[in-house]
Symmetry: C2
Subunit: 441 residues, 2 copies
């Protein structure tokens, strides 16, 4: 079984292939055919990264990021794959484009993030585009060079809006590529643009909800599970959402407690069915936003009511200081992968609908039942598995690609994101669509 | 100047970038934009390889193969690139396909070629296809396993035709992929197929002519040269063709002599213009076919008339014992590249319109003014250049991609091949089109 479609990367998996892994590998031609069918119907997001958790018995996405920020963590060997996939994306979305305006997050001191911007700029320029970086920072009034630890330099330029076109000094790009997840809302300067904006503005966290994503993912996972003949639960975590939460004022706790209790019961039934001995747990996190803020592991519903002031404050705000009002409760998936004895979870990167690489997010002081997206996390780039020709007559190629299953589940999440964005677009009333001026994608 | 779009491979070039190379690197965004425009209009051949010659002052394609046979000579590190490009091609040409029938050349003892078939099979199956190999060998009546020196095994199966569908036992594929260049003519069993046939049948050497290819290439090169502001001659070799040649009977020698003389005069004028001291030379070769048979270097028109019987016999036949009647005379391009002190020429591989790798064809006993496509040639896979981050503020990435120019010229030849195939299709009268039943591509 040598089949691949996704790069052959070295995973942290040990031992013989797991059941689910084997079933995915076996169904590969059917899976790829099914995925091709999806991409015929759907507009693929320009790029995405998906956080996965692999508990051995279960492999599931727990977060899908449409503004991926870790391209600097990919192995440089993947450059050519990233460039080729970017060329594909550009051909489909904006074949006539020559110039791209890249709009990053406003983190001028986070050099890890800035290295990601450099990596993205490099990929885009290697794909034949002229790339300049326009900053949303309100106090950036002139081009500003930032020195990076790698020795490189990043030039941020103030955005300039002329009518309904956005650019920087002397540069009128065909495409605006956001690497800013719009957590703080939709800036006025991005509204009603004539240019294509990627991803579409309604993918921003001011509007996007994880619960919408996982509701779509549930359908995708169900259809896929039927295709390969497995229980959908093996790739799909239970979840529920509560609105109108106020952690500081202890509003909505009964909603959280009730659903956490339901989810724990559901997981317990599944664990019993599969003979799994671990304790079920639920991850409680903000329904919008990122950066691993406001995330907690709950094993008993009473923990919700028992939160102390410090814990409640921590859950109450996410990035950009936004108050959390909507909360997602998601079945926790144990991570049984380790890198250097630290718990690890794979993050898969995609450009267009191609898997272009990945890394392990590793956290030495976190457990198998905790989010690893927290200060202290480290990134271990995945390397290409070196092909080793074996004399197996049925398999003249390399050893099985254990990373393949990761690439499949990540692409299921990407399918879900594509459907989700279509639905979000349709859900907007005519007025807001006009205001957002969502570009064709 | 770090721009790329094609994989960053190590070339055999020494010293500072050459003028032409520098101009191509500089114009990269314009070039990629122009190429994207071409692919919007044209149906890209499924795959191709292009032989290039680099004389330092001139970089030109000398042969474009639409049934490339050296995938085994690519660096295994390129597997993921090949797979990604194959997925792109399948999505465009036959998204609904699950099964591919691969039809190779009838070389059962050429293990180099058979390794290429294995490599192709691997790429296709890694792209998610079910692949089986159907043989045109008339005496292959049952599935036959061939052991390969690598330890692998290749299974050839007899073709089975049911109505207008082609397959092998129990396998009804959606697509027929030819890796057989049809030098010997169009087998009856391939006519009027209902399935998509790639490349289209009229790409076979029973119909294709190098002179048609280079006539189109001349136009492509002229347009491209205008785009980047260089003399088209720097990327385009002069050529002429003669029909009705019979080397054994010495028929048509005056045609050859006349054109060789004209081409030499034209080259001489160009060499003078550019201050080049070398002797001009012309390559005389069959206008159809491949495998480096029937190729000679001519520096003086009188050499044509002076051919002895042995030389004439050698020129008279190509692959499959076919008599040469049409002859191409092409400006010879010195190869100034060497690998281990042997003359080398780059061969660039493409799938869909993506450059997926390449190798050097190396011949220790041939000169800079001779075809290297001859017994005794060896292949040196090109490796990825390892990125080395430099503190140059304008270039936070890798050193300039010297392989880029090769990728551009190879893609110009691919554009020419695409136009050539469109023209060949149109040139067929309605009757032959029906007979060939050329599949949509």
């Amino acid at each position: 079984m040598t089949t691949t479609t996704v790069p052959h990367l070295i995973t942290a998996l040990r031992g013989p292939p797991l059941d689910l892994e084997r079933q995915i590998l076996k169904a590969m031609p059917a899976i790829e055919h099914w995925l091709r069918g999806q991409w015929q119907e759907l507009a693929t997001p320009f790029y995405a990264s998906v956080d996965l958790r692999n508990s051995g018995f279960k492999l599931a996405p727990v977060d899908t990021n449409l503004y991926p920020g870790g391209f600097n963590n990919l192995n440089p060997e993947f450059d050519a794959l990233c460039v080729q996939a970017t060329m594909s994306a550009i051909e489909k979305i904006c074949p006539d484009a020559r110039g791209v305006l890249l709009i990053p997050e406003n983190h001028t001191r986070n050099t890890f993030y800035l290295q990601n911007v450099v990596a993205l700029q490099k990929i885009l320029s290697h794909a034949g585009m002229i790339v300049r970086i326009g900053s949303l920072l309100p106090d950036l009034t002139a081009p500003t060079d930032i020195d990076l630890p790698s020795g490189g330099k990043l030039r941020l330029e103030p955005l300039e809006r002329t009518g309904n076109r956005l650019g920087v000094d002397g540069f009128d790009p065909c495409v605006v590529l956001l690497n800013n997840d719009l957590s703080a809302g939709l800036p006025e300067i991005l509204r009603n643009l004539e240019q294509a904006v990627l991803p579409p503005l309604h993918a921003g966290w001011f509007m996007r909800r994880k619960s919408n994503h996982f509701a779509v993912y549930k359908n995708v996972a169900t259809e896929f599970a039927q295709l390969i003949g497995v229980d959908p639960w093996l790739i799909n975590p239970f979840f529920e959402k509560c609105g109108k939460i106020n952690f500081r004022e202890r509003k909505g706790e009964e909603c959280l407690e009730g659903y956490v209790s339901e989810i724990l019961t559901d997981i317990r039934a599944k664990y019993q069915e599969y003979g799994i001995k671990q304790d079920p747990f639920v991850i409680v996190k903000a329904d919008a936003g990122t950066y691993g803020m406001g995330i907690m592991t709950v094993k008993d519903p009473s923990e919700i009511r028992g939160l102390n002031r410090k814990q409640r404050n921590k859950m109450a705000v996410v990035k950009e200081g936004l108050e959390v009002q909507e909360v997602l409760m998601q079945e926790g998936v144990y991570s049984f992968e380790t890198v250097n004895d630290a718990v690890a979870e794979p993050v898969v990167y995609m450009i267009d609908h191609f898997v272009v690489g990945g890394f392990y997010r590793v956290h030495a002081s976190r457990g198998q039942d905790q989010s690893l997206n927290a200060p202290g996390m480290q990134f271990v780039p995945l390397a290409f598995e070196k092909p080793c020709y074996s004399p197996n007559p049925d398999d003249p190629g390399s050893p099985p690609n254990r990373f393949y299953a990761y690439g499949v589940i990540a692409r299921l999440a990407l399918v879900a994101a594509a459907v989700e964005l279509e639905q979000t677009e349709q859900a907007l009333d005519a007025n807001s669509v006009a205001q957002l001026r969502v570009a064709p994608h």
